[in-house]
Amino acid sequence: MDAITVNHLRRLYKSTDGIIKRTTKEVVAVEDVSFEIRQGELFGLLGPNGAGKTTSVKMLTTLLIPSGGSATILGLDVVKDANKVRPRIGFIFGGERGLYWRLSGLDNLRYFASLYYVDEATSKKRIPELLEIVGLKGREREKVEGYSRGMRQRLHIARALLHDPEVLFLDEPTMGLDPVGARELRTTVKNLQSANKTILLTTHYMFEADALCQRIAVINKGKIVALDTPEKLKENVQDLSVVEVELYGIPQEVIERIKALDFVVEVSIENRDQRQVMQVHTPKGPEAIPVLVEHLNGLRIGRIITREPTLEDAYVRLVGGAEQ
């Protein structure tokens, strides 16, 4: 049975502008999203910032009413049966908001335990366990305002697990964490999955989705543009290779000109310190290099290499190179 089903979910926002004269316009955040997640699956929703990930998650966690379409969690409708859905799901939103900073981590957990009707005996046992799992043991009596970003994020996770929910939503859980903190957090997520929870993880890091998820839905501009296992997604780009050209400043019109070449499938630009790395996806492989160099005439060029495509490249191709 599917733990989560999403059918043509859609969400508009009204935004108002101006101080004296207010004008209202509608913005589409989620245009058309459908997918199913199996019980016990770790499912990734991958997309660039503003693609509609958070909005989708908020609709599934009963915090937003969809403008169209429907969704069920464990067979319950997220709008009609919101009250029945809530005790059975847990969620964290990336970032540091959503905690009481002037209280200790322990106070935060105890408070939410009672909000989830966790009885006293259970919560006495469960909170220390959770503190252990998320690595906050020994720090629980300190105020949250003194916590590091990573600690707050892990406190969020502990809070989401207080009532032992069957379904978990993790919205950009590693956002803003340092590399070590992010790695620890990924380990925690992996462990949760082995505890047989259904998990929906959103991220804009390809490698994170690749490392954790059994299936990945790539979302861009409010629509699902691909949905498959990481391996299958990679196959989509197997026929191509990637030419990487190191540059020191490239004008936009040159990028446009290269994009327009008939053997070029996608172009993305990655900024590394002073340099820019232009990645050109092409079936021609190394043969493309002379033509590219010709178009880059007059620019300072560094290293040029050709390599096999990665999942990252598959993602770049799906969401369009500009997002890098």
Binding site: T54, T62, L63, R97, L103
Partner: protein, 265 residues
């Protein structure tokens, strides 16, 4: 039955959490403690000519101003405050009823502001040497308890206005003194023009002040005091019943307009 127990526990936790947060917030402490003391001091000085018996009137009246200010600012903000910290979303997504949580929070604020009444009691009786006696102590304390609950029930409604009416928070400053005036905290409403009297009757703080002043100074018969309890109980019932519907409306509206959190998307 078990449900009631669990809800009481949620209310108690919300109460505790709110109390502890307030303790570290200077601005809140000002509204709760210092401002009423200053009002008490001023009123005592202004009403000096009325003789020492008026000290108890001042203690209660200025305490009521503190109670109302707390209810208006802290109680009223109890939903919007969560919105600013980003905790409204987890609150709403939890199975707990938001009304129960808010009730606990407002109760914490109102209880805390009673401290100012006690503070001015001690200040005026010990430090300044005024005689402070209660004519009907028992009736006074019962009136106090009933007043607190009727005010908290009103706070439940106020808090929803902050969500329902976008400009309410900006206008809230203008509601502080009108209630001081209309509810007879520090002067009888008989001094006001006659057309304002029905307005006073509609405000539960008026009945609370009437009961407390009456029980303290003996200006009301015991039966009349019990009468004000009935009126306060009636108002509380109306507020609580109304709040059920009101909270359903505001939560649905917030989920539709995406206003549960201040940061969008």
């Amino acid at each position: 039955m078990k449900r009631i127990g669990l809800n009481l526990r949620i209310m108690a936790r919300a109460f505790e959490i709110e109390l502890r947060q307030n303790m570290t917030d200077g601005f809140v402490l000002f509204g709760i403690l210092i401002q009423p003391l200053i009002v008490a001091f001023m009123a005592l000085w202004m009403l000096k000519g009325k003789g020492p018996d008026y000290a108890i009137f001042v203690v209660i009246g200025s305490g009521m101003t503190g109670l109302w200010t707390t209810l208006l600012f802290n109680g009223g903000n109890s939903i919007t405050g969560e919105r600013w910290t980003g905790t409204l979303e987890p609150l709403v997504a939890s199975p707990a009823s938001l009304r129960v949580v808010i009730y606990g929070k407002v109760l914490a604020n109102v209880t805390q502001s009673l401290l100012s009444m006690i503070g001015s009691y001690f200040l005026i009786s010990f430090a300044m040497g005024y005689p402070l006696t209660l004519t009907y102590p028992g009736l006074f304390f019962l009136s106090l308890v009933i007043s607190v609950f009727s005010l908290v029930s009103f706070g439940l409604i106020l808090a929803s206005f902050f969500i329902l009416i976008p400009d309410f928070a900006r206008m809230v400053n203008t509601l502080e003194f009108p209630v001081y005036i209309l509810c007879g905290f520090l002067f009888p409403i008989a001094l006001l023009p006659g057309w304002t009297t029905p307005l006073s009757y509609l405000l539960s703080p008026y009945w609370a002040a009437l009961a407390l002043h009456g029980a303290a100074q003996g200006t009301l018969e015991p039966l009349q005091i019990v009468g004000t309890w009935g009126i306060m109980a009636f108002f509380s019932l109306v507020y609580i019943l109304a709040s059920g519907r009101l909270y359903r409306v505001i939560l649905r509206k917030a989920r539709r307009d995406a206003t549960l959190d201040i940061v969008g998307n």
